[in-house]
């Protein structure tokens, strides 16, 4: 685990906030900022661009959870949320909103490090899954275009599927273009002509 993190803590209780800072400082040379209230969270997140956000809320409503989560940008960084009490629907709302760790029974200074580690690991796992999904989607879009271009060539020139693909590929190589670009140009041109 990297030992120099930028950490934003939302903690209304001053005594607890101090205990948390002490506990965090014991684990590394971190840059820590504490917010006493929820207001201004989005602005602080934008200014500080923290590596992780830790939010302590005593008795959250569903609205508060969603607002806090949104303000912490949980798709860009791990967010760990600590609550005193919770019910299933609020837990579910928090997880669905993208919180990396949701801990009932409050923010305790002595176990903050393992929770942070788990939140960071979980965040990386989910962002990797998103990246893999994006890559697959991008490839699928390209293949759809190539399939449409193949279909156009097969109809217009009476080619087999393999021949149509070979022609697109040959054209792309001889023009120094990507196959998807040539396919897209063909699809666009055929739409204009039809």
């Amino acid at each position: 685990m990297p030992s120099q993190l930028t950490i934003l803590v939302v903690e209304p209780d001053k005594t607890r906030a101090e205990a948390i800072i002490d506990s965090l400082a014991a684990t590394g040379d971190h840059q820590i900022r504490v917010l006493a209230g929820h207001t201004g969270l989005a602005r602080s997140v934008a200014e500080m661009n923290p590596d992780i956000v830790l939010v302590d809320v005593t008795n959250p409503s569903r609205d508060v959870i969603e607002e806090l989560t949104l303000a912490s940008s949980p798709l860009e960084r791990p967010v760990a949320m600590f609550v005193d009490r919770s019910d299933d629907s609020i837990t579910k709302a928090a997880i669905e909103a993208g919180v990396s760790a949701y801990v009932v029974d409050g923010l305790r200074a002595d176990r903050i490090q393992p929770v942070m580690d788990a939140a960071i690991a979980r965040f990386h796992m989910f962002s990797r899954m998103r990246a893999e999904l994006e890559a697959t989607k991008r490839a699928l879009e390209e293949r759809k275009i190539i399939d449409r271009a193949k279909g156009i060539l097969m109809r217009a020139r009476g080619l087999s599927e393999d021949e149509a693909y070979a022609l697109i590929r040959k054209t792309a190589m001889s023009q120094g273009k990507k196959i998807a670009e040539v396919a897209q140009a063909l699809v666009t041109a055929s739409e204009l002509l039809s």
Binding site: P2, T6, R128, A131, E132, A135, T136, A139, R169, M173
Partner: protein
Amino acid sequence: MRIQPLTVGFMPLVDAAPLIIARELGFAEEEGLALTLQSGPSWSTLRDRLVLGQIEAAHMLAPVPVAMALGLGGITTPLDALSVLSVNGNVIGVSNQIAARLRDAGFTPDFRNAAATREALTSVSGALRLGVPFPFSMHAELLHYWLAGGGNTDPKALDIRTIPPPLMAEAIAANEIDAFCVGEPWGSITVENGGGELLLPSNAIWKFAPEKVLAARTDWTAANPELTGRLMRAAWKAARWLSDTSKRSTAADILAWPEYLGLPAEILERSLSGHMILSRHSPVRHVDRMVVFHDAAATFPWKSQAAWIGARMAQRFGLDPTNAAHKATEVFRTDLYRQHLAPLGVDMPGASGKVEGALALPTPVASDNGTLILGPDAFFDGRAFDPTPFG
């Protein structure tokens, strides 16, 4: 953790995957690196950019840092091989004319038997013009080992020409060369373009040959231990991700992006999955360990691999083999590998060198966690290379 920018060079090859995946799937970011990947036109350009400090690290042919340590090739700036990025991954192909002559002689390539293929090839042709990506490359070393035998060889025994990988398919189609050894996907591209046929995977010559290394200047790694460690860990994690067979098509899709290889994912997936197509209309051949990124301690920069490269080069260029092998071992930084990958719990081998070519089968070896299995790593001629005399 402050995100640090880092520029790393690569050649458009399937075995650049650990760096590309490290960037695209967030392994670099996880280590606090904003990785910029810069594609190079040739290996000499990549080496020069590294030496001049235009890039901080590079995807590099394993023999290049060794050649520089031996004073070969004109540039002698010390480089470190921090880890092995890939093992195997090259193919040997021939022109359509040579392929036709082999067929006429009744030879059908089995894409496996290096000795029989060499015999058939030498019986149908005289001196071949051979294309390799760089004079200091596993391609050149393996071709010499295969065609000129394991013993002392005259450096001029083979007619070897340097052609950057992306130009290999054109060179053989234009009859500038008769055969090549090149990294994927450029062999498969030759097949797709109808410019030639594939004869052997490079692992038919040596079953577990180090291919690319993660290279950086020695003065840079000494001055930037933290960044060195981050880069090594990001590449190692990406290599582990690549070893999951269910990720192959996603990996091929990402490598296919225009900023990386810009080639059809289907062609890139052939070597990643080991399902190779040798010629147009030929059935698929399965090759075990066509390219390896992680398994069997593939990433460990074995001193014995470096010694093999150093000793082979010494023979060809008329240097003292013992001295050359010893200098080569200092380039492969097992010390940095152990230091920077220890935080990830990577199972480290007990020794930093081994007898190369000794394992016919997967074999458990002494390691920190007791989970390490090495091999097979045999040479096609059954010889073994003992690095002990080179220390």
